[in-house]
């Protein structure tokens, strides 16, 4: 499939030369070209968005920029001069800062200590006084409020991100790379972050913003470079482009971004949760008095930033986590403290949020994973003996029906991409013809094309009369698919809204605790 490459956009003010130019960057790993002659140029005072699917080569390119990898070919120019970046220290010295998606912070150190790390000669007194003062100045200037003496482990996710940004600003980074910075934030926090980023560009700093959320890209970017399979598949600006066009550049074919949910007939309640209390791993209540009901032919979405009781709720329903009090009923039958097997027998399917940990066994073949449920039943097994013929037949059919891209059904599952592993899990669970299902984070880490397919399958199940509890951090996903939305905060329902009754902003406020 060929994709037209958009011509170079006209710079908004031609007099400004780029602060960063990466030219012809190529990086090969055994068996794969991660970056193939990639060009990227960033002008001061602008946000340049790097867009691409997982594995398209974004992180490799940024690791090269930050000195973590050395390119096999290509040149890097910074402020007009050709530079070699051999290590992160070099990158920092040139004024390049990076906000990592997985925060590079030491949890047992304070904010100030994290900031001071690596700044001073190796053997000198670690005097936090001046660090603290300068840090306070910088955080006041950009409205990034943070206690310099707080330990990182005490901070919430949004605060940790502020610490990460402060680390780069303290070093007076002129070019900041932000790797999927919004992935862990609530919508109001995203708004705050964007305000800070705009302030940074107003100061003349350049930003590289990595994301796969198209609406964020359209909102924030001055320029967009799209990577696909290690190559630049397009270079454009939001003004000259559209979300659909960007998605096409990412995936290499046209993708539908809006879901036609259609109308489905709502039947009796299939899954009922009443006044449920569940404990989290730390022994405190993670779900506090939650009640909900999912009826046949309905998708109920659970929105919220992760860590607010979603995982515990899903595990409790499926019998994987003990319930403190309250009731859970499937098809009207009480299933509290039942085993997962018995819950399944009652008609519940489960798509867990960690597909490689709870959903599939990496060393098993695709066929074996597909048969994890139902392998004991005839015709696949009789008196404890597997009928491999029938199993293979069935699995080949499922792989075909659910469009799993795999060389054979005998391929070890871990060799598949995230999207295809998720399709294996979905094929297994959906084909069990359960009447109720708990679906957690179905498209996290999945490319747009696979996500589109998974969403279609979910809606097909809904149309067939399944009751679906959809748990997702992706607010777009929740809003597109759900008939009703429950916002979860610290284990409690903050409110319930019907489709079309609320905007992203309103749900975002509920997610951050404002009713």
């Amino acid at each position: 499939m060929s994709v037209s490459t958009v011509p170079e956009p006209k710079p908004t003010s031609p007099s400004i030369t780029p602060m960063l130019e990466m030219k012809g960057i190529t990086k090969r790993f055994p068996g794969v070209i991660a970056n193939d002659r990639v060009d990227l140029s960033v002008r001061p005072g602008t946000v340049h968005t790097l867009l691409g699917e997982n594995g398209a080569g974004k992180s490799t390119l940024m690791k090269i920029l930050y000195g973590l990898y050395q390119p096999d070919e290509g040149e890097i120019f910074f402020e007009g001069k050709r530079i070699e970046i051999m290590s992160p220290a070099d990158a920092i010295n040139h004024g390049i800062g990076m906000i990592h998606q997985h925060f590079m912070l030491v949890p047992t150190l304070t904010v100030a200590e994290n900031v001071a790390l690596g700044l001073h000669p190796a053997l000198s007194r670690a005097d936090m006084g001046p660090v603290r003062r300068r840090l306070t100045e910088v955080s006041d200037q950009y409205g990034l409020k943070l206690d310099p003496d707080a330990y990182i482990w005490q901070l919430a996710v949004g605060e940790r991100q502020r610490a990460e940004i402060l680390k780069a600003l303290y070093r007076d980074a002129q070019l900041l790379v932000l790797d999927e910075p919004t992935a862990v934030l609530t919508p109001p926090e995203v708004d705050d972050l964007f305000a800070t980023l705009r302030q940074l560009t107003a100061d003349g700093r350049g930003l590289i913003f990595i994301s796969h959320k198209l609406h964020e890209v359209m909102e924030l970017a001055d320029e967009v470079t799209v990577l696909r399979d290690g190559e630049v598949s397009g270079h454009t600006t939001p003004a000259e482009s559209s979300r659909e066009h960007l998605a096409e550049l990412m995936v290499g074919r046209s993708v539908s971004l809006t879901r036609d949910v259609g109308v489905s007939e709502v039947g009796p309640a299939k899954l009922q949760v009443d006044n449920l209390y569940v404990r989290g791993d730390r022994g405190t209540d993670a779900v506090k008095g939650l009640s909900l009901e999912v009826r046949a032919g309905e998708v109920v979405g659970i929105a919220g930033v992760s860590g607010n009781g979603q995982r515990e709720l899903a595990e409790a329903i499926f019998g994987l986590r003990p319930v403190v009090s309250g009731s859970i009923a499937i098809n009207g039958e009480e299933v509290v403290d039942h085993t997962p097997k018995s819950v399944r027998t009652n008609g519940l399917a489960y798509i867990p949020e960690e597909r490689m940990k709870d959903g599939a066994i990496g060393d098993f073949t695709v066929a074996e994973n597909l048969m994890l449920v139902g392998y004991k039943e005839p015709p696949f097994a009789r008196r404890g003996f597997l009928n491999l013929e029938k199993i293979k037949e069935r699995c080949t059919d499922l792989v075909h029906r659910y469009a799993v891209k795999t060389p054979t059904v005998e391929t070890p599952t871990r060799n598949l991409s995230g999207g295809n592993i998720q399709k294996v899990v979905i094929a297994r669970e959906f084909s069990s013809e359960a009447e109720a299902m708990v679906v957690a984070q179905p498209t996290r880490g999945v490319d747009i094309g696979a996500a589109e397919y998974i969403h279609e399958q979910l809606l097909r199940q809904r149309a067939a009369g399944a009751a679906i509890l959809l748990i997702s951090e992706d607010l777009d996903e929740i809003m597109q698919l759900s008939d009703r939305i429950i916002v979860l905060l610290e284990g409690e329902a903050m409110g319930e809204v019907m489709r079309g009754d609320a905007t992203v902003g309103e749900i975002g406020l509920l997610m951050s605790g404002v009713r």
Binding site: L68, V106, N114, G118, A126
Partner: protein
């Protein structure tokens, strides 16, 4: 039968406890620093034996105790470099490599002793250096200030090590590297460089700990350090990866050993009772192992080699 609760008996016991604590302390301080940077060295015992033999042999042949300490330091540096190559460059599994170091130390010192010395020939023991003025204080002076210089040195290292870890930029690097090496790396802190330094310091202190044993005893025997290096590692966990904690643990072990010893010497316990009492260190070790299961304060990256491409 003597009476334990006399001032003189208590003074002797506490002074003995401090002497017995010294090798534990030196070795566990070094290991504390090493582990704070994320490096486990189970070979402490082996390095102690090498240091002990090196110091013994130097005094035997050259008659100089200061030279013996320099030799022990040199042995520590060499063993540190060796361990750094194995764990940082070759990224070998640290538990196994440490046991290799132990086996090497045990076997090599035994062989070298038999080949080069033959029979345990006594050497001059370390003389106490009473600190003028302070050592004249009744009781306290006798307990604290009538030791050999290595005892003072080991205890002085406690505040020095504490300051180094918590108040210097090097200590900040050590803590970061032991906790989240990736974060330290992205800020331009050399992970392996920092670990190289801590490994060398840890090995030098282990080697000196062995030298203390040999020079205090004034002789050498196969397996001279008798498992003290392993107890020192347990004390790092017991001390929650803090120099002061390591000191508390070392003193606890030293005092229990001295107490049981003293009771035996005074005839307070004898026969099977003394056998039972002599198990106290073993019981204490088990208590320490229970502490280990808590692992409060354990560096998150302990035993994890750093590799940027991961």
């Amino acid at each position: 039968m003597g009476d334990f609760f006399t001032v003189s008996a208590l003074v002797v016991t506490f002074a003995s406890g401090i002497r017995l604590a010294t090798p534990f302390l030196l070795a566990s301080l070094g290991e504390t620093l090493g582990q704070r940077s994320g490096v486990l060295n189970l070979g402490v015992e082996g390095v102690m034996l090498l240091g002990a033999f090196g110091a013994y042999y130097t005094v035997l042949k050259a008659g100089s105790q200061p030279l013996a300490l320099l030799v022990a330091i040199a042995i520590g540096i060499v063993m540190g470099l060796l361990y750094a190559v194995v764990t940082l460059v070759m990224q070998a599994e640290q538990g196994i490599s440490g046991i290799g170091v132990f086996l090497f130390g045990l076997g090599f010192t035994d062989l070298a002793f038999q080949k080069w010395v033959g029979t345990p020939i006594p050497i001059a023991r370390l003389e106490p250096w009473p600190i003028p003025g302070l050592s004249d204080i009744p009781v306290i002076g006798e307990v604290l200030f009538q030791h050999n210089p290595l005892v003072y040195g080991a205890f002085l290292l406690v505040p020095i090590m504490t300051y180094l870890i918590s108040r210097t930029t090097f200590g900040l690097n050590v803590r970061a590297v032991g906790e989240t090496p990736e974060a330290a790396d992205t800020l331009g802190v050399s992970v392996n460089g920092t670990r190289l330094v801590t490994i060398i310091v840890a090995n030098v202190l282990a080697s000196l700990a062995g030298a203390v044993v040999a020079l205090e005893v004034g002789n050498f025997q196969q397996n001279l350090t008798a498992g003290r290096g392993f107890i020192a590692i347990a004390l790092v966990y017991f001390g929650a990866w803090r120099p002061f904690g390591a000191m508390v643990g070392s003193l606890l072990f030293g005092f229990v050993l001295a107490l049981v010893n003293q009771w035996g010497a005074l005839g307070i316990i004898s026969g099977s009772a003394s056998s039972l009492a002599a198990m106290a260190p073993a019981v204490l070790t088990i208590v320490v192992l229970v502490f280990i299961s808590n692992r409060v304060g354990q560096p998150a990256a302990l035993t994890r080699p750093f590799d940027r491409s991961n």
